[in-house]
């Protein structure tokens, strides 16, 4: 560990605000992007399954 205590780790010298804001925003953007990609996948599957059921009812 490069820090004496957990409080030290959070403080990051005097730069805790900058470091943690940078990491926080990055985490939000990366996670949101991954979730959107997965949701897109789910949406396509859902739409296609619905179309398939409808086609089968018509037959």
């Amino acid at each position: 560990m490069a820090f004496e205590s957990f409080a030290d780790f959070l403080a990051m010298g005097k730069h805790g605000f900058f470091v943690w804001t940078a990491y926080g925003i990055s985490a939000v953007l990366v996670i949101a992007n991954m979730v959107l990609a997965l949701r897109g996948q789910g949406k396509v599957r859902e739409t296609l399954a619905r179309q398939q059921r409808r086609a089968e009812v018509d037959e």
């Binding site: 560990m1 490069a2 820090f3 780790f9 990051m12 010298g13 005097k14 730069h15 900058f18 470091v19 804001t21 940078a22 990491y23 925003i25 990055s26 953007l29 990366v30 949101a32 992007n33 991954m34 959107l36 990609a37 997965l38 897109g40 996948q41 949406k43 396509v44 599957r45 296609l48 399954a49 179309q51 398939q52």
Partner: protein
């Protein structure tokens, strides 16, 4: 020999169906490897790497800033290549990739700008400066957004791909400007201390966590692209028999 292998790969991965099978085999192990690598690099960088003798701990922003920036730049190069293949050869998978690569790249470009500015304040005393590096990086974000927007406003997917492909190709020149802006003109931004060839000028205790974070971010980008490309392939090939079977079987 090598040429034939490349040609075979081009044809195999150029087939949407082959790509779909291939990616479903790759994702289950690529996803955990990407996450573990990224988390290892970040934890190492944030908690275990030594502090910088001049910047103290604010420099730890590097472990997200550089992976995001390099990912955004490489992603754009891949976008340019996809654009070229889509425009010249009308290859279907290149059109799919054009759509799959852009969103995560845009997010990484935004992360690069935000983390850079948060690092700039304690280090340079300013959040932003209109110098060559920062301005060209902002343009990179706009290029990504432009490519995404073009694909969304043009209804017909093949036509959308041609327009977005052209824009992607034109934007490649900007990647070159971003890369060399710190060498050609005087900027506030420092030059690279990490070198592929020759000796890096960064402390090895900081270099290894940085390299690991970079690798993790690139792999996660690949995971994101594969997921997006798979949905796009399923949508475009929705009338084909294999997608119909896939959906009937619950999407496995």
């Amino acid at each position: 020999m090598v040429w034939q292998t490349i040609k075979r790969w081009y044809h195999m991965l150029g087939s949407p169906r082959y790509f779909h099978t291939f990616s479903s085999r790759v994702l289950p192990w690529l996803t955990p490897i990407a996450l573990i690598t990224l988390v290892t690099g970040l934890v190492w960088g944030l908690a275990f790497a030594p502090s910088d003798y001049q910047q103290g701990n604010s420099y730890r922003i590097i472990f997200i800033h550089v992976p995001a920036s390099s990912g955004a730049l490489m992603g754009y190069m891949a976008l340019g290549v996809s654009g070229l293949v889509a425009v010249v050869w009308r290859m279907k998978m290149a059109e799919v990739m054009l759509k799959a690569i852009a969103p995560f790249g845009a997010a990484l470009a935004a992360i690069s700008l935000i983390t850079g500015s948060l690092w700039g304040k304690p280090t340079w005393g300013t959040y932003w400066q209109w110098d060559a590096r920062m301005t060209s990086m902002l343009i990179l974000l706009f290029m990504y957004v432009g490519v995404i927007a073009l694909q969304n406003v043009i209804r017909e997917p093949r036509q959308a791909a041609r327009a977005a492909g052209l824009l992607a190709i034109v934007g490649v020149i900007n990647v070159v400007i971003v890369k060399y802006s710190v060498e050609w003109v005087q900027t506030l931004h420092q030059g690279s201390t990490l070198k592929l060839f020759g000796e890096s000028t960064i402390n090895p205790a900081m270099k290894y966590p940085l390299l690991i974070s970079m690798l993790g971010m690139w792999l996660l980008y690949a995971v994101n692209v594969l997921i997006r490309a798979r949905s796009e392939v399923e949508w475009r090939e929705r009338r084909s028999k294999w997608v119909q079977t896939l959906i009937r079987e619950g999407g496995k």
